[in-house]
Symmetry: C2
Subunit: 209 residues, 2 copies
Amino acid sequence: MDNQIVDEDDINSCVVNIYPLRGYYFGSKDAVLPKHHTYFDQLQKLKSNYSTNGMRVCVEAVMLVELLKQPHLLVLQMRNSFFKLPGGRLRLGESEIEGLKRKLSNKLSYNGNGVDDNWEVGECLGTWWRPDFETSLCPFLPPHVKSPKECLKLFLVKLPMNKSFIVPKNQKLLVVPIFQVHDNFKTYGQIVSEVPSLLSRFSFNMNNL
Amino acid sequence: MDNQIVDEDDINSCVVNIYPLRGYYFGSKDAVLPKHHTYFDQLQKLKSNYSTNGMRVCVEAVMLVELLKQPHLLVLQMRNSFFKLPGGRLRLGESEIEGLKRKLSNKLSYNGNGVDDNWEVGECLGTWWRPDFETSLCPFLPPHVKSPKECLKLFLVKLPMNKSFIVPKNQKLLVVPIFQVHDNFKTYGQIVSEVPSLLSRFSFNMNNL
């Protein structure tokens, strides 16, 4: 793609710069006690929050780094038991982008009072809906569902060349090759395993050094 | 979303207008003999084309219509046996957008000499690569694959409120609800069954009349 004349097709191409893993520092902070121990706890919380605040809106981040010339995804491993993307629930009235920055600062930076504003929230990659409390997420709002219980949005968060990630001691921030995540529902779950397809419209520029 | 003040989040929201099925006319034209009868024929063709022209580049269209307030996908059923999105292989040096317009005119319009230019090719939804002749498509170029055999790109094609689709008598253009296609690999195959997820970043405006 070097020195190529821009043509019509380039309107549609999205190039994302990703930087080598060696530019990032991974540290730890005090463990965070899990809010919900069981599926039942989680379900109760979703129900009680819904009755107070209505539909839960969550935002999560897709962050990529380069290792061995391959894009790798940053995935949180929680309590050695399951994998998720960093993010979380929005406060009432909070914008998606501000909420995601707050959640990323809270989960991946040193504890402090402020929000680390050095997160570049980019394109929305996908949206999922939870039609009812005990159903799984769908990439569309199914017909006749008038009051979905949760909405989850994924955003591409573009990392700078250098950054520190500080995660609680009882969690791990893993660097997983895209090809390992792809279609691997069993290990990574519904959302993470679809990330490679959702990213396939982008091309990655890894020649930054 | 009516009369809402544009905020930061709207930068990321993509609204796509889709129009009622009743605005479209579906007709037929002479049957087209299938180019390849068997998987073996297809494989031979892929190999011989590769040795002459290098990697095969294909483009396909995701086209949506509204029925019962739900988005529906236009899917071609070929010889009562399998489903695909309309599109096909690019000529050498042809741009993706021009090639897709040519293929759509050829496959879905009255036969004629010219290209029906009334196709609005929009966002790229995804890209797949075929690492080797007999492997399936991946949404990324796997490590160490230096000479992929095929590249497939999906584009959102935005339909006007009215249009005629004229398909060969031995094919059918089906109007399939998004929720039926979702995760339905067994019926619709790898690419079509992923379309709902790839579309989940868009919101659909169906209040056009």
